[in-house]
Symmetry: C2
Subunit: 244 residues, 2 copies
Amino acid sequence: MTVFLVGAGPGDPDLITARGLKLLRSCDVLVYDRLVAPELVAEAPHGALAITRERFGQERVNELLVAYGAAGLNVVRLKGGDPFVFGRGGEEALALARAGVPFEVVPGVSALASVPAAAGIPLTHRGVSSQVTVVTGHAFDGGELDVDALASAPGTLVVFMGLAALPRLAAALVTAGRDAHTPAAVISRGTLPDQAVASGTLGEIADLAEGLPSPALVVIGEVVALAEELGIPEKRLRARVEAA
Amino acid sequence: MTVFLVGAGPGDPDLITARGLKLLRSCDVLVYDRLVAPELVAEAPHGALAITRERFGQERVNELLVAYGAAGLNVVRLKGGDPFVFGRGGEEALALARAGVPFEVVPGVSALASVPAAAGIPLTHRGVSSQVTVVTGHAFDGGELDVDALASAPGTLVVFMGLAALPRLAAALVTAGRDAHTPAAVISRGTLPDQAVASGTLGEIADLAEGLPSPALVVIGEVVALAEELGIPEKRLRARVEAA
């Protein structure tokens, strides 16, 4: 009798939380994103109604959640990554709250740290980076970012959904004063079997990443250089494929 | 025959990943942090050697992981939150890599988004915040932060381990130009049954949070105001206790 906004994790179906999996296995209705692993969709009970979200706009998804929730069904809204990190979970939560439908947020492993980890990159590291800034490529394209401030922010910069904007964003950061030799990486389909990583400098990363499939996460900062010791070449982590 | 650096999640033992739980249940050696839930420590096999990390410095922990890993045992290093988000997982990974001991990072749900979520606060929200900056209270005390830049950074500011530094950090941000009326919250023991939340403005948050137990996460930004609709008063989320 509740709507659960559940984070599915970054891609690898084993990275859903124990609680998320339990809820998924007992739901009446499952509304899921395109990027959610098919192995997780298959965990819903046979009798459950499984609806892919892709056919609908956000407004319609909100309406569906409110309607099924108000009908007293157990609804799992399964979202890639974490619902509250660029996941628009807040919009769905607000719609439910305004309609008086009980809901609960079950957090997931965000791509934010897990996808860099799968490429051997820690977001923070003592003596290297003690600050992380997170933005989206859409925000850059929408003129919402203060690129001068981003260029001078210390530590690690992570860009969600940044593949399309990367050539322009990287150039803008360099123009704004960020060193073109800053290490940078693009991790495509992170934590999945066909994960691919492009790694180089900020000045060249857009060229290196050309043609990589989305979803992709961009990481810019000195921590990227740790990957050489931590596993990209040695494949010590779960990073399985490395792009040329 | 591998050392697994596993994120235990933010506190609630149900928020470990399915993969982390599976590895935990089949380990030979478990090395765990003080903040890891006792329910998770209890998931290790009866015959497993369980070692709390607290008695040792980081150097000694690295040595233990290398020694048990090199001996061919299945070692789970269970860390609060995510190993690569202020978790010093990178240091342990480097020690293992340098010793030639195979290891794998199994990411966890970081406190970063999950603890705010448990208090009804999304880190990002369309039209409200499209940027997140993450720092630690230790970095502030160590003089590593550019407070002027932080004060003018748009979006949401999250401070890990920020309770002790909060009176000085909040004052410094206001002095550097951040509006004292900016919404702010401190979430103590987030996602646990005794979670407590202090919520107010940047100008008053240090007073409001006085006496809250650690660990605590500080969130500063307009997204905090969404909590009023999203659940702190209504306790719609898993937030169970609210501090006065």
